[in-house]
Structure formats: structure tokens, C-alpha cells
């Protein structure tokens, strides 16, 4: 399989707005897994928009790296898992996992960052 790459950039403010809005719970449940939300929840219980924005960027970057332009892929089937070490990796399920299998993906690498109001992610598939 040829190397495939995807990148995405997300405004943290747009995620913060979704968290403040009337559709907050639906947004959290439709876009993120419980583990992703828990990983972004601080001791005070506040969910950090920076963390969610980076995860949204990771889902979009993965969609760009996978074949099929993300069609028919639920965003919760692309999950960002963070290790105690701070490393992050992607876990695919459902349609996203099917697309990766179809492409013959062996390894999926992920990198996240956020600063100055933006979050970005890069996904590489080999």
C-alpha cells in the first residue's frame, strides 16, 4: 500500500461554541466517544475545547488519509486514544476500519497539537 497522509486544522473557538450551545450533549455524543470526552475532562469537570478540537482534527485528518473521503463514516468510529505517556493513537471501528482494511493499511500514526486558538492533527497510513 502506498503511504497515505491527512492533515486538518480546527478553530478551538468553534468547538468551544459547540460546547456552549443548545446542542452540546448531542454534539458530544455524535462526534466523540465517552473515552475521548473523559480524556478531555479536567479535575473540575470542565471539558477542554482544545483537546476536543485536536480530536476533531484527528478524525478529519484520518478521513483525508483513508480512501473514500470519509463518506458514510461516523466520527465516533475514529477514536483518539491517549496513553499515560502522552502518546496518542487512533482506534478505528465500523466503516472506518473497513476502509482501512480495504486500503491494506498496516500502520496508522497520529500526531496532535494545539496552540493560539487552533488545533491540528496529522495522520499517516502505511
Amino acid at each position: 500500500m502506498a503511504l497515505r497522509i491527512g492533515i486538518d486544522l480546527v478553530s478551538v473557538a468553534s468547538v468551544a461554541e459547540s460546547l456552549r450551545g443548545a446542542h452540546r450533549e448531542h454534539y458530544l455524543e455524535r462526534v466523540y466517544t465517552e473515552r475521548e470526552v473523559a480524556d478531555c475532562r479536567g479535575p473540575s469537570g470542565r471539558v477542554a475545547p482544545e483537546g476536543l478540537a485536536a480530536r476533531f482534527a484527528a478524525k478529519e485528518a484520518a478521513i483525508k488519509a483513508l480512501p473514500g473521503a470519509g463518506e458514510e463514516v461516523r466520527l465516533t468510529t475514529i477514536e483518539v486514544c491517549s496513553e499515560p505517556s502522552g502518546e496518542v493513537r487512533l482506534e478505528l471501528s465500523g466503516r472506518a476500519a473497513e476502509l482501512a482494511d480495504e486500503a491494506g493499511a498496516k500502520e496508522i500514526a497520529l500526531s496532535l497539537t494545539h496552540e493560539s486558538g487552533f488545533a491540528a492533527a496529522t495522520v499517516v497510513i502505511t
Binding site: S14, G21, H23, R95
Partner: protein, 80 residues
């Protein structure tokens, strides 16, 4: 239905132009809607019409314009 769709896009689409200046078939992405905004439009539409878009409808082309959104909603059974 299209008026409600326009209202949802006005509130959540983050377009760079006024939605009233767009025709039903005009491309909302070209009018500034990002992928994150389109997800927020989808979610607000689901709450507004009390439906859930089928996985087969999770496509850029479905949320591309007021007309394409209206067609998807009709397909799910939302009355015009």
C-alpha cells in the same frame, strides 16, 4: 422545511456570506462552511427535526446545499 434549514445554517454554518444571498442549490462549503461547522449543522438539523441522519447520508454532498439537505430530510420522512 427549507426555511428551517436556512435558519439552522444561518445559526451554525458560519458562512462568510448571508444565507439569504444564496440560492437553494448554492454550495455552502464554497460560502465558507467548514467541516466542523457542517457537523454542527447536521446535529442542529437532527435536533430541529427530531431525526438522525443515516450513516449512508454522512457525506459532504448531502450537506452541500439547502436543496441537498432538504432532499435527505425528505428521504428520512420529514414532511416538506
Amino acid at each position: 422545511m427549507k426555511d428551517e434549514i436556512r435558519q439552522v445554517v444561518r445559526e451554525h454554518g458560519h458562512l462568510s456570506v448571508d444565507i439569504d444571498s444564496l440560492g437553494d442549490g448554492d454550495d455552502l462549503y464554497q460560502a465558507g462552511m467548514t467541516s466542523h461547522a457542517s457537523v454542527n449543522v447536521m446535529i442542529a438539523l437532527e435536533d430541529t427535526f427530531d431525526i438522525e441522519f443515516l450513516d449512508s447520508m454522512l457525506k459532504r454532498s448531502v450537506f452541500e446545499s439547502v436543496s441537498s439537505i432538504s432532499a435527505a430530510l425528505s428521504e428520512i420522512g420529514v414532511p416538506a
